[in-house]
Amino acid sequence: MSITIPALSPSASSPRQDASPATSAAHPEDAALVGRLLAGDEAAFAGLVEQYHGRLVRLALAFVADRATAEEVVQDTWLAMLTGLRSFEGRSGLKTWIFSILTNRAKTRGHREKSSVPFSAFGDGHTAHEPAVAPARFTAAGSWSAAPEPWIDETPETLLLRGEVRTLIERAIAGLPPAQRAVLTLRDVEGVASADVCNILGIRETNQRVLLHRARSRIRAALEQHVRRDRC
């Protein structure tokens, strides 16, 4: 009997490589874009709005309770960004900078409004232990009693083509605790490097990893449940 060892070369084990963090490497395309914005180039700004607006709303929803408030926070963010454009130093990259502005605005807003989600969750995410997989799936000795079944011809792309899967994931993200939701959105949905995520959210790296782990585990579980139901 041969055992297939999956391709897990170190380079394959991280889906999105974090760029080397500390190099204050300039982001030339950001500098060019900022130059155009400062010069009043409307097409450049329209393009930026097209590219970021929906993503900013998605992130804002991790901090505030409803969509209308999220839209307002995003509007504020754009204005703050335009006002602060001159002081943008390019050290962190435009994307990280915009997400930081949004996060600050959204947190402030979240604190102010009673209707908003409590954000004390960010202090330290170590609440009660939340297992990645339901304990019932394991034997007493800790081996799988109900092992996961491969999602055979379900590549991410084919899964996503099915609208109901997208809805399912979006709903699962919306159901995450705020801190998990913010970390997952930045890391996995937006592809922001972990060091930048820590800066944006003001959390420690270990804390970020715990939050990310819990969030990913929950989304995987939601997907598994869905694929299974599909098979029956």
């Binding site: 055992i3 060892i5 400062l38 009043g40 180039d41 409307e42 993503r55 754009w78 996503l160 996995d188």
Partner: protein, 95 residues
Amino acid sequence: MLTCRELTELTTDYLERRMPLRDWLRVRVHIAICRGCRTYLAQMKQTIRLLGLLPPEAPPPHARVELLASFRNTHSNTQSPRDITRAGDSATWAR
């Protein structure tokens, strides 16, 4: 040996490669012989990829219009002729 249950708690540390070499090796050994955990790890990666493919919503039309108006406004208010001499000259900004 690492149990399957323990492995499911290490997947993120493993994928982020934030674990001591010794633990990393224990994970590798485990997935080499455990089909369930291989599947689990594959699903975790699929999940991450899927999340990265979620398309954002398009901005609502009214937001587009309002933002462009604010952009024009900000620009005509704050820009002194001295600040930007030639429109589109990013070198001015980059110094």
